[in-house]
């Protein structure tokens, strides 16, 4: 029987710090999906998420010396991803109010065909996530989609555990409000 010897994270990090790209590839394959979908949920843009995922890992590699044993590497990785995503959002032209415009369109149209198209094409959940304030959005995605524990999220976002809890409740309240028309 073949036993696959999977390295523990600290072992992997140790090798990465010694410039071992094979270990880094293993690290990438473990966390690519998590980082990519975090960035997709955060930016709502698959292309940007792809670019930012690459940037995240490159930055991690370039700063591998500064990872010490106190700071969880996973939290550090998500921290980089969130910072890059923040920069990306800042650079984007401020055109977030399209949703509003669309809902106006639907209300005015009174056109079942249009409503059908809208429901078919647009994912209301992702749009609602998009409306969350930045920290609230990050908290929600990390918890619900990435399955990070509250203490890990607190580390990524540099906030207290209580703040994480508050942000989670806020996120759900906002999401329920914005998605109520699809739920009731």
């Amino acid at each position: 029987m073949l036993v696959v010897d999977e390295k523990s994270l600290p072992e992997l990090i140790e090798e990465i710090r010694n410039n071992n790209t094979t270990a880094f590839k293993e690290f990438f394959s473990r966390y690519q999906s998590g980082i990519y979908y975090f960035l997709f949920r955060y930016t709502s843009d698959p292309e940007a998420a792809k670019d930012l995922t690459q940037e995240t890992f490159i930055k991690f590699w370039n700063h591998k010396e500064s990872i010490n044993n106190d700071l969880a590497p996973k939290a550090y990785l998500y921290k980089i991803a969130r910072n890059l995503a923040l920069n990306y959002i800042d650079r984007k032209p401020p055109f977030s109010s399209f949703e509003e415009n669309e809902s106006v369109l639907i209300k005015l149209s009174n056109n079942p065909q249009l409503d059908y198209e809208r429901l078919f094409l647009l994912d209301e959940c992702q749009k609602a996530i998009n409306l969350l304030p930045e920290r609230c959005k990050a908290t929600f995605i990390l918890s619900v989609y990435e399955g990070l524990h509250y203490d890990e999220i607190a580390e990524v976002l540099n906030v207290s555990l209580q703040t994480v809890k508050n942000q989670m409740n806020k996120a759900f309240t906002v999401l329920r409000k914005h998605m109520s028309k699809y739920i009731d």
Binding site: F28, F40, E47, N62, F98, V104, E117, C125, M168, Y182
Partner: protein
Amino acid sequence: MDLLKTIDFQFLVRIVKNEVGQEEREFFQGWLEQSEENKEKFSSFLVLWDKIQTSRKPSLPPQEIEWEKIESKILTDQSNSIINSLSVLNKEPQEIVSPYKSNKVQTTFVWILRIAAVFVAGLPLFFLQHNESPKKEATVSKVEVPQVKYYTLSTANGQRATMNLSDGSVISLNADSKLKYPNYFDKDSREIEFEGEGYFKIHPDKTRPFRIKCNNTITEVTGTEFNIKNRNHKFSIAVVEGSVKMFSNKTSQEVAVVKGQMVSLKNSGSFSKPLKINVKHLLAWRENKLSFSRTPLNLAVKEIERCYSNVNITIVNDSLKHKTITGVFDTGSLDEILSVLSITHDIKINKKGHQIYFE
């Protein structure tokens, strides 16, 4: 009005993930049995949770390919740092923004070559940052004019580009558009030429009016934001901020267009009366969306083609041409657009590679 203090969303999440102990579960059961209202609250939470869990997402970019890009970057650290330090010298970064979302295999870091090329060519005003455009790159070519140099930036179907001009103005080009601009503006005016569709954010400068020549019109502004659409020989301008002055070469007519208004050029060469419009609706293209409002199918098809680099749609059945369509489409998936059109308009769609027939 909301859930009980102790039964908050986090608690419900733990319930559905089955992360609670016996005691908490019993407490929850008790709460649920208390009232019909509580049951309803929980069931509406379950629907919300289901929506969250099933929210659509793109497929993961291929691991091997993504890894190769990262590997090439970390292995060539040395050479990149030289190029990066050079690029810092550039004050006018220009991005070519990927026009739509796809999962196709693409090469990053091609832009490094672009930067190098720009340096070799000695054009200090800008550099191109190629941002994973899956298609051919937008091309910049040089047109020799004494003293002031003019450049042309053009986009093909499926492409978009953003240009930062030397005066601080920013112009976003939609697909199939062309911008001719100088390397610098002189002291008393700023002039460019434009074809296609674009969004203009003109840096305020009262001493140097900004003029845009397009389809026999001249748009004069000092500092505003607006969208110009010049498609199929039809010109229209929609003003988002401030006001613009329009001039028609043919009739010498002059009109002022203010925020929230749209004016188009009639065949006679005179301008239409200003229409009040929903500006954001017109700007859907900047959000990777196609927005139609009673648009004849033959025109809508042209817009759809522009969104993709290699798509050709033929309307075989003539009676379809004048059907109108209304709706907002995400340009992320051509197949989705086609299937909605097919269902809602009873169109038989026949797809043969890049050729699409509406029958």
